[in-house]
Amino acid sequence: MISFSQVTKRFPGGHEALSGVSFSVEQGELVFLTGHSGAGKSTLLKLIAAIERPTSGVVSVSGQNVGRLSRLAVPYLRRNIGLVFQDHKLLFDRSVIENVVLPLDIAGIDRRESLKRARAVIDKVGLLPREKANPVSLSGGEQQRVCIARALVSRPALLLADEPTGNLDAGYAADIMSMFRDFHQVGTTLLIATHDERAISALGGRTLHLNQGKIVEAAA
């Protein structure tokens, strides 16, 4: 599903976030990405979603060379990837359901069908009673669940999560992680950047450890 081959990302100014990284993730796999902050976890995820482009090497997703993707093709790649952000990136000028329905609007799906699907996925993350609420009135954990609902509403084959539990206390974090396990069980490929050791041991799965831009694979 994902394969990195000798991928290096150097930022303007000379900082090398990733140096010669190679690995691959099979379809349906659950993989954790660990390493201290600044080790290159976010950069690696951004390369997969074509938010950043590699300086050298090949990043491929479902057989597509993402680093060479034209600007016009990038949106269509992203529609197949669910993104979960540490800071949620919700829009506070609209309700929970309007946030979740956004990817379907973008894909041009019939409004009524979209709302039905959005409601189903909001139900799955346990926020159906709050669907009309403004996300600003939700707790951090609830906001993160809205973000996850938005990432999943278009039923992507691949879910990328960058520190999804980074700002949450242990109870919420465990909730979120068990949600990820459910998605893994229905066949979604997950790549989760985290340093929540408890979550990793609870869920199992492979761990990729990043250290100063280099990968140190460790079986869990």
């Binding site: 938010i51 990136k89 799906i109």
Partner: protein, 302 residues
């Protein structure tokens, strides 16, 4: 195709919502546009009205023929015979005594004529030719001027030609002004949309991350620009309607003094629709320029 229509509808609703949530700034922008557009369109309407005035004035130009003081009777008869030919519609003779009497009758000049020891005026014919084209008038005047005993001919169509020339300048001015204000319109719209884009930076960034194309992001702003332009056009027509209502009575009064039934002409439906279409179009262009530029700036800030 269906999803394209869905996108259009979605973008239009979004644009209408955005306008609705900011009624004051929408109104102010529409007013700024309306005042700007009302200037060239007002000038245009003024010219249409002036052309109508020019059309109502006696279009029949006259040629005055002044006879030589030492003209012979035979020459007089020859001229009279020439003026009976088919290219002359009407001719009447004004003897010099009658001309002096007419001059004396007019109040301002009676003092001057009273001091005259002899009549300095020549005998004259006032002639209306059949043809009214410029070439035909010049030909007839030239021909009559060459007759023996004719001292001078005066073609009395100059004022009409001058009026036409002034109107032509006015029309050129309308287009010049319209061009300038179209640029102003693009600038006003672009500026309004730029503020909108900046206010929606987060939405644009997030939409990009979850797979929105540039076209998807741009579309509501384009509708917004077009709608804003449309409202500007409506405001301009409102301004003109108010100005027309304000001018109607004094214009009618002036026309009355001239014994004319002239009244102000309203813009036709086609003209109104054209103004609205053009303002919407220029609003759209301004929005496109602005949002395309802003998208490129947002690009670098992931």
């Amino acid at each position: 195709m269906i999803s394209w229509l869905r996108h259009q509808k979605h973008a239009l609703t979004a644009a209408l919502n955005r306008l609705g949530t900011q009624p004051v700034s929408t109104l102010l922008t529409a007013l700024a546009m309306g005042v700007a557009i009302s200037l060239p369109s007002g000038l245009y309407l003024g010219l249409v009205n002036l052309s109508q005035v020019a059309g109502q004035l006696p279009a029949q130009p006259e040629i005055s023929i002044f006879l030589d003081a030492r003209i012979s009777d035979a020459q007089k008869q020859a001229i009279g015979a020439r003026l009976k030919q088919s290219d002359i519609a009407e001719a009447h003779f004004v003897p010099k005594d009658k001309a002096l009497a007419m001059l004396s009758a007019s109040q301002d000049l009676s003092d001057i004529t009273a001091g005259l020891t002899q009549n300095p005026l020549p005998d004259a014919w006032v002639v209306q030719p059949h043809g009214t084209s410029r070439e035909e008038l010049a030909r007839v005047a030239g021909e009559l001027g060459k007759l023996p005993g004719v001292a001078e001919t005066h073609l009395d169509s100059q004022w009409a030609e001058r009026l036409q020339a002034i109107l032509a300048i006015g029309r050129a001015g309308v287009w010049l002004l319209a061009g300038l204000f179209a640029i102003a319109l693009i600038a006003i719209s672009g500026n309004a949309i730029r503020a909108q884009v900046l206010a929606r930076r987060d939405e644009i960034l997030v939409s990009r991350l979850i797979g929105a194309t540039d076209r998807y992001i741009r579309r509501p702003f384009l509708y917004l620009g077009a709608l804003q332009g449309l409202f500007g056009g409506l405001a301009a027509i409102g301004v003109l309607a108010i100005a027309g209502g304000y001018l109607r009575v004094p214009v009618a009064h002036l026309a009355d003094l001239y014994g004319s039934s002239f009244h102000l002409i309203r813009p036709t439906a086609i003209e109104v629709v054209s103004v609205l279409g053009l303002t919407a179009g220029f609003g759209w262009i301004g929005a496109w320029l602005s949002v395309t530029r802003a998208l490129r700036q947002v690009e670098g800030t992931h």
